[in-house]
């Protein structure tokens, strides 16, 4: 009775004063999720520092936050004390290494981590502002290894369907060459034969090696994502599977493990996060994909389309009685986590690392992303979808250089580990799906530029390109 009353009071406070935005930051590995989150947190904190010390690091968001009298309605931003089971996102550590004298980019993410911000804002109406005081917007952000993302589309498939798809893909170049040992092994395996533990372990190791080989040549559509990590001694036994067509004892055993893996993903990853979010940003490292050749680009396109389709149709987590996928619902705080219909409000697709592209071509990058994602995302019923080309951390400056006697738009940046700035010419960025003539055999990895100078106490924010527009677009309406 008393506990109930106290719970009700806490919920009432949450209901009246707090609005929760669960922001899903999605993207394949290396897309820039961790950097994006670090810069977002840093710039929001710089914006919301105590009176007189804040900096307008996110002009477009500030504009969205202007009250009727022209002053910002923002009252403050702080990182909330951590609660819950997930590990805390090590924001301070990441900022420290980015802003160090010899700066370093964050290491690839190994596990899930969460950070929550409280953004205090004045209410909009004059009456509400006077009577009810400020409002708290709680922004929950999750970081995770990008490889895991492609496990979500996996949830929709049966073992047979997945095997057919995966093997068909594996038999096309350039995968076929990398996966030759595994494909040879498959040719010698009888799916109907008795399950041979040694052969299965060997098949798993070969499949895993094939996936890692594909990753090494820039391919991105690799399932299951967890196979890309180095095999560990404590890998659960159900992890040891590989795609196999046909029926029989071996196939049956593998199908069982596949199903166990699906359950595992659903429980540890999907249920903790992907079921409940109301805003989503999908980061795509389009430039790297473009330069890694046709197969890598098509892989990225496939992944983007798959994720967008998941947004539309759900992840096979089951449909609700009203026929809408679960992903379209977020729990209401008032009902204590029960799922009530509330559509995903907004989705932003972002081509990251746009600081590798001079200003004039950024629009092309954005259009290319739109061409890629729109066919799959276009069917999204509710959410407002926006497309951006942005850099969470601006590491370059626009300039011009003479290339083969002609003046060209370039960006200037210091390659990590070098002592002097160089000009980088990004080449053609098509503004729509590239024609066949675009592709050549050359393979080019994007230079890794040294992060810019960042004031270590966080008072000046992190230089960025267009982060404010993304934020204004994504959460401006809820502030």
């Amino acid at each position: 009775m008393r506990g109930l009353a106290a719970g009700a009071a806490a919920r009432l406070d949450t209901f009246v004063n707090e609005d929760r935005i669960a922001l899903a930051v999605t993207g394949l590995s290396g897309a820039g999720k961790t950097v994006f989150i670090t810069s977002l947190v840093n710039n929001l904190l710089a914006l919301g520092r105590a009176a007189g010390q804040g900096r307008d690091t996110l002009p477009r968001l500030t504009a969205a936050l202007r009250g009727p009298d022209g002053a910002s309605r923002l009252r403050g931003v702080r990182v909330l004390a951590h609660d819950g089971a997930l590990p805390a996102f090590d924001y301070a550590g990441k900022l420290a290494s980015l802003s160090a004298d010899t700066p370093a980019w964050p290491a690839p993410t190994r596990d899930m981590a969460r950070i929550s911000l409280a953004i205090d804002v004045e209410r909009r109406g004059p009456l509400a502002r006077r009577l009810a005081g400020p409002r708290r917007v709680r922004l929950d952000i999750l970081d995770y290894p990008g490889e895991w993302l492609l496990d979500l589309p996996l949830l929709r498939h049966s073992f047979a369907a997945w095997s057919a798809e995966a093997l068909a893909l594996l038999r096309t170049p350039p995968r076929a060459a990398v996966a030759a040992p595994f494909l040879a092994f498959l040719a010698g395996l009888n799916p109907a034969g008795p399950a041979d533990a040694v052969a299965i372990a060997q098949g798993h190791a070969l499949y895993r090696a094939a996936l890692r080989g594909c990753a090494a040549i820039g391919l991105r559509y690799l399932q299951p994502g967890r196979f890309l990590a180095a095999p560990a001694a404590d890998d659960p036994p159900f992890l040891a599977f590989f795609p196999l067509e046909g029926r029989g004892a071996t196939a049956g055993l593998l199908a069982g493990r596949f199903a166990a893996y699906q359950r595992h993903v659903r429980r540890t990853f999907f249920d903790t996060r992907f079921r409940r979010f109301d805003r989503q940003v999908m980061l795509v490292d389009l430039l790297s994909a473009l330069h890694a050749g046709r197969a890598a680009f098509e892989d990225t396109a496939r992944a983007v389309a798959d994720i967008a389709r998941g947004l539309r149709e759900g992840w096979g987590g089951g449909l609700r009685a009203d026929g809408l996928p679960l992903a379209h619902h977020v729990p209401s705080v008032l009902l204590g986590g029960r799922v009530v219909p509330r559509p995903i409000g907004r989705v932003a697709f972002v081509a990251t690392k746009a600081d590798h592209v001079p200003a004039l071509r950024r629009e092309n990058l954005r259009n290319l992303l739109r061409a890629l994602a729109a066919p799959a995302a276009g069917g999204l019923a509710g959410p407002a979808v926006s497309y951006h080309a942005a850099a969470a951390v601006l590491a370059t400056r626009d300039g011009t250089a003479r290339i083969a006697g002609r003046a060209a738009e370039v960006v200037q940046g210091v390659v990590l580990g070098e002592a002097q700035a160089r000009a980088f010419h990004v080449g053609d960025v098509p503004s729509g799906l590239p024609p066949d003539s675009f592709w050549s055999d050359s393979y080019f990895t994007l230079p890794v530029f040294r992060p810019p100078r960042i004031v270590a106490d966080g008072s000046h924010g992190i230089p960025h390109l267009g982060l404010d527009i993304i934020l204004a677009e994504l959460i401006g309406d809820r502030l």
Partner: protein, 303 residues
């Protein structure tokens, strides 16, 4: 990290290929992208029309009542001087009481504003030192009744050269004793709360009682901090307390550790809590409320 190995002889350059050029002579070692975000002062929004509206209405009402009173007293004088004087005395007394009440409210509002101002100043840079010291002096003077060594602190204020030193001084010699006093208020209320819950005839009354006692805790603690809230200011204060609680400490309100702590600091509560369900919870809430009110009234930024 670098382009694919290019053939030694200059190949015809395809315009579309990405290219990382060699550094030019004198190229800088660090790129300055010209990032210089302008300062952004998060000021409180300016007063709105609502204030004028309320002011206008109040002026109308006051002048109407004043004129009516004058004509009424004139009327009385015309009947008999004695009646007239009686009327003057009555109105005068009424007006005086209103004025006292209004002054009290005004003082309380000013007190709240003073806390806000000092909080802003204390969080600010060293440059504001004189203003900071003056505001601190005001605050210490206001909390003098609850502070045994107020004079010594006032003398020590002049010795503080930097904002950090001033903050440290205020924290150690003003905020700490006040917080202790608030703790005493909380323990007293906790004991009373537990005892009262024990004798209340119906559990549904617990909440009503706890609410009333809670308001008193807020006012007692506020008084300790030099704020003597009137009725209106009490509401503003209660709102602020709720806000502070929700932002900082709301979640541990009922945590087991909290319960244990109160049980050990307020001995009487333990016996009551063991015997009567709910007594412990009421006690914890009141105790906690005192602490939260104290942090809402405390102008020092968190250490």
């Amino acid at each position: 990290m670098s382009p694919d190995p290019r053939p030694a002889e200059p190949a015809p350059l395809r315009q579309q290929a990405p290219l990382l050029l060699e550094p030019e002579a004198g190229a800088p070692a660090v790129i300055d992208s010209g990032w210089q975000p302008p300062p952004l002062a998060l000021r409180r929004p300016a007063r709105t029309r609502l204030g004028w509206l309320a002011g206008g209405l109040a002026t109308l009402l006051a002048s109407w009542a004043g004129l009516a009173a004058i004509t009424f007293v004139e009327d009385l004088f015309q009947r008999s001087p004695a009646l007239g004087w009686a009327g003057v005395a009555g109105f005068g007394a009424g007006l005086a009481m209103l004025a006292v009440a209004a002054a009290g409210e005004l003082r309380a509002w000013r007190g709240l504003a003073r806390v806000d101002r000092l909080r802003r100043l204390l969080a600010g840079p060293d440059a504001a030192m004189p203003a900071m010291r003056a505001a601190a002096r005001d605050w210490v003077a206001a909390v003098r009744p609850g502070l045994p060594e107020a004079e010594a602190v006032l003398a020590a204020l002049d010795g503080a050269e930097t904002a950090a030193a001033l903050r440290a001084l205020l924290r150690a010699r003003v905020a700490a004793p006040l917080a202790q006093a608030a703790g005493r208020v909380g323990r007293q209320a906790a004991l009373e709360g537990a005892a009262l819950v024990a004798i209340l005839p119906h559990p549904a009354l617990d909440g009503v009682f706890a609410g009333l006692r809670g308001l008193r805790v807020i006012r007692q603690v506020a008084a300790l901090y030099g704020l003597r809230p009137g009725t209106l200011a009490s509401f503003a204060l209660a709102r602020r307390v709720v806000w502070t609680a929700a932002g900082t400490a709301g979640m541990d309100m009922l945590a087991q550790t909290m319960l244990d702590q109160v049980m050990t600091t307020v001995p009487g509560v333990r016996h009551l809590a063991a015997a009567i369900p709910g007594a412990g919870v009421a006690a914890v809430r009141l105790y906690r409320l005192a602490g939260i009110t104290a942090s809402a009234c405390d102008p020092l930024p968190p250490a």
